[in-house]
Each structure stands twice: as structure tokens, then as C-alpha cells.
Symmetry: C2
Subunit: 423 residues, 2 copies
């Protein structure tokens, strides 16, 4: 295994504890953080990464995206969700082939790396292509092929469960079930997924209460709220990651908390699709729900940057409650790292000896990051844009000094540009 | 004067007309765009800037900021406006000296340049220091020293009017009056500013209806809305640039339109301070008000990037109206360039022969900018972050290939870091 020395880091900020230290060296070997220390000598390393004017912190998690949708970025802007889906996205998806998904996933992965994301959840077509791309780049992913009761034969429960149950999860890639939503699956399908998830301890991602429409439809069809229906189907558990959760009631929030369900907060996608409402993040957090951040796909954001989503998410919560004191930058970083990793089922990556070495560095030479000494790092990097310089996942160097090492960025861009011609 | 050839630009996008062309050369001399042409030879240029994989467009205007507040970035986060002002900002400002304002303005200018901003309005203490910094960097500025009826002797009307009336405006720097707000000036002061503005044709910037509190106070004190009071004081005219305009009525909007007042929309600052409400941008635009974008100061945003403000502004309008079709990226770029320049009193900088050469280039190698050929440039650069590569103002190269030419960036950062120690 590669050994890496992050040398002379100006700031080491552990999002898990909020502890901020200066001028330290981080030594990484065997996929783990071995030592965080003042001494910079005596280490045998394959890579010495100079970290003067850089901040070292745990990598960010993007807990809701559809990477191959980078192909459709900009093709469905400024539309309501139903029209976005039916008039633009579905017709495009009918042309989608595995080779498109592969190159589109690679481009999405490059964007994630450059935004300091080290782990993500994905839910889209041709997930085996996504896994191929993810393994070539080296990020961690929870991969949940979507399940519909509809026109996509490859995405019926039987196909997806055969696929998922035959895969071997490893330290970097985990497979799960991705029932798209309550409105696109039959109740029996959801019940079967609930049973399989329990029996095989398999994670599940699902769109929950993204719009008023989906809640109203659920009430009309089943006489109950979406969260209650998921409970009935055995789909509320610590293995479930529910995206959006905009239109949930207090009673639903308590239920999500009781069952230890994780929630992905996707403020940019929600604002852009403008279905109204704001996910009740303060109430979710207060009840103990494991909230994290998701960007959603590139066709509905259109950026995959978690840091951008954090800024906009904090602004949205403060603005909608007329309360600027709600949700602080250090809380946002805690939930974007610790909560995100827990929601995806990946190991602890707090900056402490023995933890997973999923580490990023940010550029402290950016003018907007230069602040008074009393300003903590989270405020510097959350409220103004900052560049990611280095990315290490499970001890492996993915990007060093802005250069991606694991795949050829130019080649990936060319392949992607070529694939766009098919649409 | 310098002659510059922007050679082989992949995209030339004129925000004024929405016209997007490919593979063109832009020739700049004597401060003006001389030619936009397919041929790339036959020009005698001091600078040849390779523009393959770059988009050329008119520079952005930031119509509301307080540059020297870069000193206070991060020192007053997550507070309501009155507390932000009284507990944090005012005590800090009492320690502020001219030399601080000079180095802080330089850092702010560097940030503006790197964000593609070529012109801005400023309203803060020690505006002569801001002007010195602005002239050294080479941007265009409308500089409006604040006027208060309060504790700041240098900022009474008599001091400021002596200063402003003794200054010579030039092509790059214009002086104006900056009465802070209705609640921090006496009515007689506002009336005198109105008369001076009319007599000497001098521009005025003022905070208008930023909070419910300021409107309520105005109603209590004068029995009328803020816009009506400004009218009574002779302060509604095409020379006036009103910032925020969140809590205005339909009747006020019509009045702003009738008098051709400009409005600076500052969504990020408004959301972060969370005083509630959303500036009625669709109604303002519909009535014909010249709306543009402002970031506000670094202590209340905390970024000076207009492109970031545009994205968040569009999201906020769509979200708050439950209507994703409102405000499109090309409209946003039109108002961020044309409207901004008009609001500040600077010349037309549409990408056409004979106009002011205030031009920026953006990096089209960014993964998120690579889209299907049918996606127009505005959608690519508004909804996902993109880097500015070159900045030219009035035909002068300010930043070329990411390197600022007019001042020493490292020295400016060091001086700024040193100045922070005084706070």
C-alpha cells in the first residue's frame, strides 16, 4: 500500500470534533491515518505532499446524486419536476446506453474529486458502468440500481435483486436497492424490498416526499403519509437513506428518527425545481435524524459540489425561518462528513490515528479564505468558494496538487464530448 | 494604448443580445473593441491571448459592495442585522484606519477580478483609499462615501460633499454620494443630497427597504413608505441606485420604475442576514426597473462573486414563487452586465465594434461546463461554478491566464494578513 505524508499542513481541521490545529503532519499508510504529529521526519513515504497554505479535513459525502446525468446537464433547466421528467429526461434516457453511462460517470467522478467529495450515493441506470468508473477513479460509492414497476425491464425488482445479491461489496463500493419512489413502485414491490433489505442487510435509497404532489398522491392511494407507508413496507430502518424529505410532518420526522433512517438534504435541486417547501432540517436534526447533504444529479442542480450545496442549504434554512443563527458552518461540515459517511455505511474518517484515510486538502491561498485569526476554518470555507487541491481515499492518492492521478482527465473529457453527440 | 488580440475564442457570447458565436477573434485597441472577426492575422498586438476553450463575454458588474469589509469577513457570521451591526461591525469599524482600508480594498479587488467583475459600486469609509486601490488594479468603480447624521465626523454631508465635489470623475472612477439609509440620515440631509445630486448630476447609492424594521420605522417617523420619502427628498431619479429593495410595495415598485431608479438585488446577503422577504425581482423587471446584482460586503455574504450571487438569486426567486420558469440564465447575465453598467454610469460594453473593451474570459475546460451542443452558454456558467481566466478593463489587461498583472497579488495578501492583526 502507498504511504503518504501530508507535510506541514497550515490547518488540520477535524469535522467530527471541531478541533482545529496548526502546522501538523499527517502520515497515512495501509489505508489509515497512522499519525498526526508535529514532527515531519522519520516517515518512509511514497508521496510527500507539501501542505503549506492548505487545510486538511475529512472528505465530503454527497449522499444523493445520479452521476451519469452529467450527460443531460443544461438540457432540462427551468422546468417543473413533472415536465422536467416527462418532456425532457425520460425521452433522453430512452437513448441512454451503457457506454454513455460509463463516460458520463467518469466526468461526474472528476467533478466530485475536484469538489472534495470522497464518497457518494448513486441511483441510476447502468450502475455496473458507474461501478466500473468509480473503481477506476477510486472513490467510495453506495450504488443502488433504481427499481420501478414500469417500462424498464432491467429495473424491475427481480432483475435488480439478482444483480445486487450477486455482487460482492468491498471497502469502496457497496451495493443497495434503489426503489425510485413510492409513486413509481407498487406497494408489494416495496414490501419485498423491505424484506430483502432486512434479510440480507442491504441498504436502500428512495426519494421521499420531494413534492407536495407525491405526498398527496400517497394519501389518496393509501390513506397515509409516505413515511407511514414505508414503515408498513418494512422500509424504515438504519439501512434506509431517504432523499429530499421536504414535505414531511412532525409525526413523520419522529418516525424517521425512531427508525434511525438517514435523510439527504438537497436544497439546490429543491430550489431549482421550485416545488415549494423547505426540508425541515432543524427539526430533523433536533429529533436526531442523520441528515447529510446531496447535490442531486447534474440535470437538476447543476453542480455536484457539496460545499456549494452547504452554503445554499444554510442560506435557505436561515432565510426561510427568518433566523440567521440556525445551522452553523461547523455543524454543516459535521453532517457533510460524519453523517454522510454513516448514511452510506462507510467507516469513520475523523482525523485521528487509526481511522480511514479519506482526506482532502483545500487551498488557503484563495483571497476569500484569508480571515482574522479568530475566524474558524468552517466559516472560511463554507461561506465563500474554495478550491480542493488534494484528495486521498482509503489511503490512495486520487488527486495531488490539482492533478487527478487515477484516470486521464483529458481523455475522459474527450470521450464524454463524443458521447454527447448521441443525444 | 495596449492592443490585445483574444485569439480563437471557442465561444463569444454577447450578454446584451444573447448572441452566441464560435471560433472568433476579438481585437482590442484604444480601450475599445475594434473588431470581432474570423480572421486572426493582420493585427499588431502587444498581447496575444490564446482563447481556445475559453468563452469571451462582457465583464460583470457588482452593484453593491463595501470592499474594505474583507477585513471583517467571518467575524460577524450568523447574526441578525442589528446585532451584526451594533455588536460586531461598529466596534470593529471604530478601529479602522486608512491604511487598513487600502490593503483590504486591494484584497477585495483581487477577489473581484478573479470572479470576472469589471465594475462595481462601493460605499464605505476611507473611499480615497479605495480609489487608490482601484486605480492600481484598474477596475471601474462608482465610489460613494457614506453619509450619516451620527458619530462619524468625516461622514457628515458637509465633509462628504466637499470631498465628492472636489474630485474629478474619469472614465474608470466616478464619485457619488452614499447616504447610508433613511434611518441613519435626517430628512433635511436627504433633501440636501437630493438637491446636490440634481445640481451637479451626481449619482447616489442608498440602502432601501432592506428589512421590515426600516420600513416600519419610516412609516412611524414620517407616515410614509421609504420610497415615498425618497421621492419627497428629491432622491428618486435615474442617478439613484437603491440596494436591497426587499420590503417594497407594488406602488413603490411603480414609483421606482417611473423615476428610472436602479435597484441592486443582493440575495445572498439578504438570505444570510435572514431578515425575511425576497426582493420582488419579477415585478421590478416587469415594471421596467433597472435591476442588477450586488454581493454586499464580505462580512455579510461572504463571497464577492457575482456569478455565485446570480445562481443563488435565481434559485431564491424560483423557490419563493414555486415557479422554476422565472428568471432564466440569459436574463440574469443581461442584467448582471448591461443593467449593472447602466446603473453605475459606465459605457456600453456589449461585444460589438466600438464599445468599451470590458471583457472577461471563462474556462471552458471545467468539467461542469462541458454540455450538449444545444445548451446555451448562460446555462453552463450560471448554474455551476466556472473560473475566470482573463480580465480586460477599458482595453487594459488586468488578469491574463489567471495571473493579475496590475498589482502584486502575493504582496497584497501579505499586507492584508498583517493588517488583520490590528483587529
Amino acid at each position: 500500500m502507498t504511504a503518504i505524508l501530508l507535510k506541514g499542513a497550515s490547518i488540520v481541521y477535524d469535522t467530527y470534533t471541531g478541533k482545529q490545529l496548526c502546522n501538523l503532519n499527517v502520515y497515512i499508510e495501509d489505508g489509515l491515518i497512522q499519525e498526526i504529529t508535529e514532527k515531519s521526519t522519520g516517515f518512509k513515504s511514497d508521496y510527500v505532499v507539501e501542505c503549506n497554505k492548505k487545510a486538511v479535513l475529512p472528505g465530503l459525502a454527497n449522499t444523493h446524486t445520479h452521476l451519469a446525468m452529467t450527460l443531460f446537464r443544461g438540457l432540462a433547466d427551468d422546468l417543473p419536476l413533472r415536465e422536467w421528467l416527462e418532456k425532457r429526461i425520460w425521452p433522453l434516457e430512452r437513448k441512454l446506453k451503457r457506454e454513455h453511462a460509463l463516460v458520463a460517470s467518469k466526468l461526474g467522478l472528476i467533478e466530485l474529486v475536484k469538489a472534495g467529495v470522497t464518497a457518494f450515493a448513486d441511483n441510476y441506470f447502468f450502475e455496473d458502468a458507474l461501478v466500473e468508473a468509480t473503481k477506476s477513479v477510486g472513490l467510495r460509492a453506495l450504488v443502488c440500481p433504481p427499481i420501478f414497476d414500469g417500462e424498464f425491464e432491467e429495473h424491475t425488482l427481480s432483475h435488480v435483486s439478482n444483480l445486487v445479491l450477486s455482487q460482492r461489496c468491498d471497502a469502496l463500493v457497496k451495493w443497495g436497492f434503489g426503489p425510485h419512489s413510492i409513486y413509481s413502485c407498487k406497494k408489494e414491490t416495496l414490501e419485498q424490498i423491505g424484506a430483502l433489505s432486512k434479510e440480507h442487510e442491504i441498504r436502500v435509497t428512495i426519494h421521499l416526499a420531494e413534492t407536495r404532489w407525491s405526498q398527496v398522491l400517497c394519501e389518496k392511494s393509501f390513506g397515509k403519509r409516505e413515511t407511514d407507508l414505508l414503515e408498513e413496507c418494512g422500509l424504515l430502518s438504519p439501512r434506509t437513506l431517504a432523499s429530499h424529505a421536504v414535505w414531511v410532518t412532525k409525526q413523520e420526522i419522529r418516525k424517521l428518527a425512531n427508525y434511525e433512517v438517514s435523510v439527504s438534504f438537497c436544497p439546490v435541486s429543491n430550489m431549482k425545481l421550485a416545488e415549494g417547501g423547505v426540508a425541515p432540517v432543524p427539526e430533523l436534526l433536533k429529533e436526531g435524524v442523520r441528515v447529510s447533504f446531496g447535490t442531486d444529479g447534474a440535470a437538476s442542480n447543476n453542480s455536484l459540489s457539496v460545499l456549494e450545496t452547504i452554503k445554499i442549504g444554510l442560506l435557505l434554512i436561515k432565510h426561510s425561518r427568518w433566523d440567521p443563527t440556525l445551522l452553523k458552518p461547523h455543524e454543516a461540515l459535521l453532517i457533510a462528513t460524519k453523517n454522510g459517511y454513516e448514511a452510506l455505511g462507510f467507516p469513520k474518517h475523523a482525523l485521528q490515528t487509526g481511522n480511514a484515510a479519506d482526506v482532502i486538502t483545500l487551498d488557503l491561498r484563495t483571497p476569500s479564505v484569508i480571515c482574522h485569526r479568530s475566524v474558524p476554518l468552517p466559516n472560511r470555507i463554507v461561506y465563500a468558494p474554495v478550491a480542493t487541491v488534494d484528495v486521498i481515499v482509503s489511503g490512495k492518492p486520487i488527486m495531488i496538487n490539482g492533478k487527478i492521478l487515477t484516470i486521464d482527465e483529458e481523455e475522459a473529457k474527450q470521450e464524454f464530448t463524443k458521447a454527447l453527440e448521441d443525444f
